[in-house]
């Protein structure tokens, strides 16, 4: 964990509201970045917004390139999308508790919503076996990074709310048949989707690892603003920090 004033190399629209930003960030990349790690970015030029924004690491390239895929949702990400190459942003990271990579025999099944396919890309990239990407969105315009997964040999199954591509319905509808032991289930997407996954996995006693998303102040465990209910081992719950004990939790740990 460290901070670095990282220079933007490129910052371009990927699709619809999604952008990919590439930073030169040799210090942070020299840390051992794993899938599920996130970085906390001070978006430059927004003085009245004092908080950093958390983004999962999408990819690292060579020894000094860090990539993030982000969706424009509010004032911070909107401004982010206007930053030109050459601008520097202070980045704090890598942060959080990463995914565990699939072991030899396991076939990874990545269940993605929203920016989830970006947050889980490093799992795919580092997996011994190609696996399956189950990806959901409101419509086909919001499906991102499918080509990148295909190039890694992943099978792609799509669900859209409006049926504009693939299965019409929820991506979790596609998950049922992978709730088996030869698969290793990973998830990242909007919280309601994550909680559906928790319910499905826990009721079938299948293991899974899910990355949860909560607004954060510090990002390092110091402020307790980002908590999520996890099982306390005595039938009850306790609050755990998304930034420190998470963002990746075992689905069996998450309390509903």
């Amino acid at each position: 964990m460290l901070t670095e004033n990282a220079e933007i190399i490129s910052n371009t629209k990927l699709k619809d509201e999604y952008y990919k930003v590439t930073f030169r960030a040799s210090d942070i990349v020299s840390e051992n970045i794993l899938a599920g790690h996130f970085v906390h970015v001070k978006i430059s030029g927004l003085e009245e917004k004092i908080l950093r924004r958390p983004f999962s690491v999408f990819n690292v390239v060579k020894s000094d390139v860090l990539e993030i895929v982000y969706k424009v949702v509010g004032a911070g990400t909107k401004h982010f999308s206007s930053l030109e190459p050459g601008v520097k942003c202070n980045i704090l990271g890598p942060l959080g508790n990463p995914y565990t990579y699939p072991v030899n025999s396991e076939i990874p099944v990545l269940v993605a919503g929203g920016y989830g396919s970006a947050a889980m890309y490093l799992i795919a990239k580092n997996s011994c076996n190609p696996g399956i990407l189950l990806i959901g969105a409101r419509n086909s315009k919001e499906l991102i990074l499918i080509e990148e997964y295909r190039q890694l040999g992943f099978k792609i199954k799509i669900a859209t709310d409006d049926g504009s591509s693939g299965h019409k319905g929820l991506v979790t509808d596609l998950m049922e048949k992978y709730c088996k032991n030869q698969y290793k289930i990973y998830g990242c997407g909007p919280n309601p989707m994550m909680y559906t996954m928790v319910r499905m996995l826990n009721s079938r006693s299948v293991a899974g690892e899910l990355s949860l998303d909560h607004a954060m102040c510090c990002g390092v465990g110091g402020c307790y603003t980002c908590v999520v209910k996890v099982k306390d081992g005595r039938g009850g719950w306790k609050y755990s920090r998304t930034c420190k004990e998470g963002p990746v939790f075992k689905s069996s740990e998450i309390y509903i």
Binding site: M1, L2, T3, K42, E47, E48, K49, I50, L51, R52, N90, L92, H214, A215, C217, C218, G219, V220, G221, G222, C223, Y224, T225, C226, V227, V228, K238, Y239, K244
Partner: protein, 306 residues
């Protein structure tokens, strides 16, 4: 190089820059970034007698030039704090001066926490957070009722020889009265400000953004209010003052010191820059050197008249 030694009554710190309770966890969270003993002191998140799970989410919102929070004082309780490896034992090993922020729902709870901590080594001072609502003694926050503020401090005073800092709420009509009464009750120092009470509403859902409905405002937005209150307390009492509220850089810290703060704490600023406390130390040094001031204590209270 100017002399940074900071004497707060019986307490001597290597420099006047601390962290603010609740923004710096228990220290270990930041120890990966820099050695904690570079700081004047680490002030930990508020500790209570029993473990407390805190408020439901959402617990904060970003506001213009600040943050509003209602974490609800989540903490592991004093026993775990004393014994859990990452808490007090870690701070001891770090060699940082450790100020333990404490609170309770009743005066008894405050007293018990103070009593338990009194037995511990490696504690520099206790900071009494009187800005939390009490339940047993009538539902008024201790920090907005003069008698209760006096009572809680004087009861704690009886059970501990540790230096006591009382942390004042800014949400009062005449803060000087609170300063005087807690000093009368035996407080060795005063820290201020705690957060300003506020509310943020989501106009689409028509609900308060915070699950707790109201919360505490901190960050640059509150700085002028904080500086004024520090100065008011400085004029009212003779004990050392720890000033905070929106400090982001050396210049901000010097404002507080000129207004009367012997030391300062950096809170919300660590959210945008975890190195902010170190930056503040460095920039205070540059200011002192530039003005040929030998010791940091020589700027305390040196506000000149207009």
């Amino acid at each position: 190089m100017a002399d940074f030694k900071t004497e707060l009554g019986k307490v001597t710190l290597k420099n006047p820059v601390m962290t603010a309770s609740g923004t710096f966890g228990y220290g270990y969270e930041y120890a990966e970034l820099y050695p904690l003993d570079k700081l004047g002191a680490v002030v930990v998140k508020g500790i209570s007698l029993d473990p407390v799970s805190g408020n439901p989410m959402p617990r904060h919102a970003e506001i213009t030039s600040g943050v509003i929070n209602a974490v609800g004082l989540q903490n592991p309780g004093v026993e775990e704090f004393i014994n859990g490896e990452k808490y007090l034992p870690f701070l001891r090993k770090s060699n940082a001066a450790a100020v333990i922020n404490i609170w309770g729902k009743t005066i008894n709870e405050y007293v018990e926490v103070a009593e338990i901590l009194n037995e511990q080594n490696g504690i520099t001072a206790l900071e009494i957070n009187i800005s939390c609502p009490n339940i047993k003694e009538g539902g008024i926050a201790f920090g907005t009722d003069l008698k209760m503020a006096n009572k809680v401090v004087s009861e704690i005073r009886k059970v501990t020889t540790l230096p006591l800092v009382t942390k004042l709420s800014p949400n009062v009509t005449r803060i000087a009265d609170f300063a005087k009464t807690v000093v009368d009750a035996g407080s060795d120092m005063i820290s201020l400000i705690n957060t300003l009470t506020g509310m943020v509403i989501d106009i689409e859902t028509r609900k308060p953004v915070l699950a707790n409905k109201i919360g505490g405002v901190s960050g640059p937005a509150v700085k002028p209010v904080a500086v004024k209150l520090v100065h008011e307390v400085y004029n009212a009492v003779d004990v050392p003052i720890i000033g905070m509220g929106g400090i982001q850089n050396g210049s901000d810290a010097i404002e507080f010191m000129l207004a009367g703060a012997d030391a300062v704490a950096v809170g919300t600023a660590v959210f945008s820059d975890p190195y902010a406390p170190l930056k503040v130390i460095e920039e205070i040094g540059q200011y002192l050197d530039r003005h040929n001031i030998k010791s940091v204590k020589d700027i305390v209270g040196r506000l000149e008249s207009v």
